[in-house]
Amino acid sequence: MSGRQRGSGMSNEVNRLLPRPLQVAVLVLLLAFVGGPVLYMVLASINSDLGVAAGEFWPRQLDPANYVRIWSTVDLGKGLVNSIVVAGATALACGLASVSTAYVLVRHAFLGRLTILRGLLALQSIPGTLMLLPVFVLFASLANILEITVIGTRWALFITYLTFALPFSTWIMVTYLRGLPRELDEAARVDGASSWRILTRVVVPLSWPGLVVACIFAFLLGWNDVLFASVLTNPDTRTAAVSLQVFGTSQEGGAIPLYGQLMAAALVCAVPVVALYLAFQRYLVGGLTAGGVK
């Protein structure tokens, strides 16, 4: 994909959106803005804790052993597995649910459609701190009624994140699907295809870029949440973000904060997400032709 674009330099110039000097300036400025603190994190992760506490930027003493220690002190391995499983499942399920919901909302007129659309956005304005106790009570009651364990399992997190991610992901797909020409799925319908078939065979292949973004947001919601995860998990199902927080906040009462390990652990936690993004971003390119309409 990218090879083809690189090969045809001419069409690439046509695709240019910003004049080259402006583009370079923007990239440099933003890289500095983002990179500065990130560089500091990297340096702090190999610095001694006293050095970080003393406000050093360049470490005087290198201590790369932090990257080894975190696997036992932060319990990072288990956390990462839990996070990947929960956030990954959330992303996949959310992608599927949001594309089908959005498809119905965009392509079919029915009573209450606008209400649903607005309601979905309004749901985003509910503060998490308001929902924490009620969600917990609900899960606890469900567990009592159905006589199953809910709290402490990954299911509880999965269901919670899936639901909280759904409205936003649906909206992403709504805006994306609106940009797709109606003729394509109408043609399929004329051919007698069922709604499900149109969805999986026509709509989904065309909406990879939107779908990837919707999945990324669902994934990140699960990946970064601490509020719900901290009460809905136990040590075995704890996510990486909670492990980090547990490690970072439990240093009251005498110890020097273990900045180096915290930074190292945070960076290690960022790696899987960045890697996933790198893997999926080839779907983030290129307009309608990329999805394979041709």
Partner: protein, 445 residues
């Protein structure tokens, strides 16, 4: 395209399997004392100074208890006091959660107020080996009175003050003062050349109220009496002026400490940048013994003569520390009370308390075991402080009052970092804290 779909399908299957892999793990029913197949859940603060040792301790306890009763002990940890509160609230509200909570002593009144924890009857006390197996002082914050107790003392963590012996000797000071005014004078002498007399964590979420409380109690004001708050009492205002003045006007504290939590104050002391480090527990020993002041420091009890006075105030108490440590409380919703009490009996037994002390450096609450440590010279200050600790007011509103006390310090930080201690502004903040505290007390039941 097909590859992608296969991959996606495979991924979905794996992830769903991953979720399912973690199904039911906890809780058994029934109530017989035979614990086979049952699980006791314990919530305890995470120990990051000794993470590996704590994990090993969890396994050891679980193994020993399994051998004894057949039941499994499952430990869950909380990271901070905030986490602890949230866990308590969600569990109480939903009626499910850990069977045993290891609570910071100051949260015991709050836990008591929820009525969600077992009030220990004489039989209950007997089941855990008798009330008199504990050091009497450690029972001081177990309940409002002897017949209504929920907290079982588990570990004692009194606060003391570390001091740098070399710095004091160099300044010709033979021992730390026993009054706050005297400490200030010494601190002034010790400040200079990039070093400071005191290391204080002004941005800590808990330290500030412990200072204000101690100075007030010593002057004769317990802050809460007969459901009346006394936060705007002159003795308390004086305490604030002293505590904030160290940085604002006396300048015996590193100006950067307006951003410090307790840990950073410990770090500064460990780098030899401060002579006194008040309000630390014995757990600071691990850090300090690895720092540049190893072997050059010692612990002593904090001053007990309130600021502006030469002896205890009228009705004052020579409190060296809040009654600090961990209490165990048992949730009323537990289905295995007999097993739970048996576990507590095991945890508070002399040999368990001994190994706990040896592993984590926290003082035993078991009287027999505590006696053994009394003669250890390295511990003298800490053991002394343990015996002179005083419980904070036993009221369900205490955590709100605590927060109100700290809020005064938080809102004063911008002005003290400019070197100002505005009396009118301070009075305004103290008044606000007083009314917050009083309205919380008015709601108390």
């Amino acid at each position: 395209m097909r590859v992608t779909r296969t991959l996606a399908g495979l991924g979905t299957a794996l992830l769903l399997a991953g979720i399912a892999a973690c199904g039911g793990s906890s809780n058994g029913g029934g109530d017989a004392t035979n614990g086979a197949g049952k699980t006791i859940n314990v919530l305890i603060g995470v120990n990051n100074i000794y993470p590996d040792q704590q994990r090993k301790w969890f396994t050891d306890v679980s193994d020993a208890f399994k051998k004894d009763t057949g039941a499994t002990v499952h430990f869950d940890t909380f990271a901070s006091a905030n986490d602890e509160l949230t866990k308590i609230q969600t569990s109480v509200l939903s009626g499910q959660g850990p069977d045993i909570y290891a609570l910071g002593t100051t949260f015991t009144p709050t836990a008591y107020a929820t009525k969600a924890f077992v009030e220990l009857t004489a039989d209950d006390w007997n089941a855990i080996g008798g009330r008199d197996r504990f050091v009497p002082a450690t029972l001081g914050i177990s309940g409002p009175d002897k017949s209504h107790e929920v907290g079982i003392p588990f570990a004692s963590r009194p606060f003391v003050m570390a001091y740098n012996k070399d710095m004091l000797a160099a300044a010709g000071i033979d021992k730390p003062a026993d009054s706050w005014d005297g400490l200030l004078e010494q601190a002034k002498k010790l400040t200079g050349g990039g070093k400071y007399g005191l290391a204080i964590g002004y941005a800590d979420s808990f330290d500030p109220w412990k200072f204000i409380w101690a100075m007030s109690v010593q002057a004769g004001n317990p802050l809460v009496k007969d459901k009346k708050a006394a936060l705007s009492d002159p003795s308390t205002v004086k305490a604030y002026q002293t505590y904030l003045g160290w940085l604002a006007t006396d300048k015996v504290v590193d100006p950067a400490s307006v951003g410090w939590k307790n840990a950073q104050a410990v770090a500064a002391f460990g780098q030899g940048k401060a002579a006194f480090l008040p309000m630390v527990s014995a757990s600071s020993k691990v850090t300090l013994d690895k720092s540049s002041v190893a072997g050059k420091y010692d612990y002593v009890t904090m001053p007990t003569i309130p600021p502006g006075m030469t002896s205890l105030g009228p009705g004052g108490v020579a409190a060296t520390s809040i009654l600090s440590g961990d209490n165990l409380v048992v949730a009323k919703y537990t289905k295995n009370k007999a097993l739970v009490l048996r576990l507590i009996k095991y945890l508070t037994s002399a040999e368990q308390q001994d190994s706990y002390y040896k592993t984590f450096g926290e003082l035993p609450t078991n009287a027999e075991e505590a006696k053994k440590l009394q003669s250890d010279p390295a511990l003298s200050a800490i053991v002394e402080s343990a015996s002179k600790s005083v419980g904070t007011p036993f009221n369900g509103a205490w955590s709100q009052i605590q927060l109100a006390l700290v809020d005064v310090v938080v809102q004063s930080i911008p002005s003290i970092s400019k070197g100002q201690l505005n009396e009118a502004a301070l009075n305004g903040l103290v008044q606000k804290a007083q009314s917050t505290a009083q309205s919380a007390l008015d709601k108390a039941k």
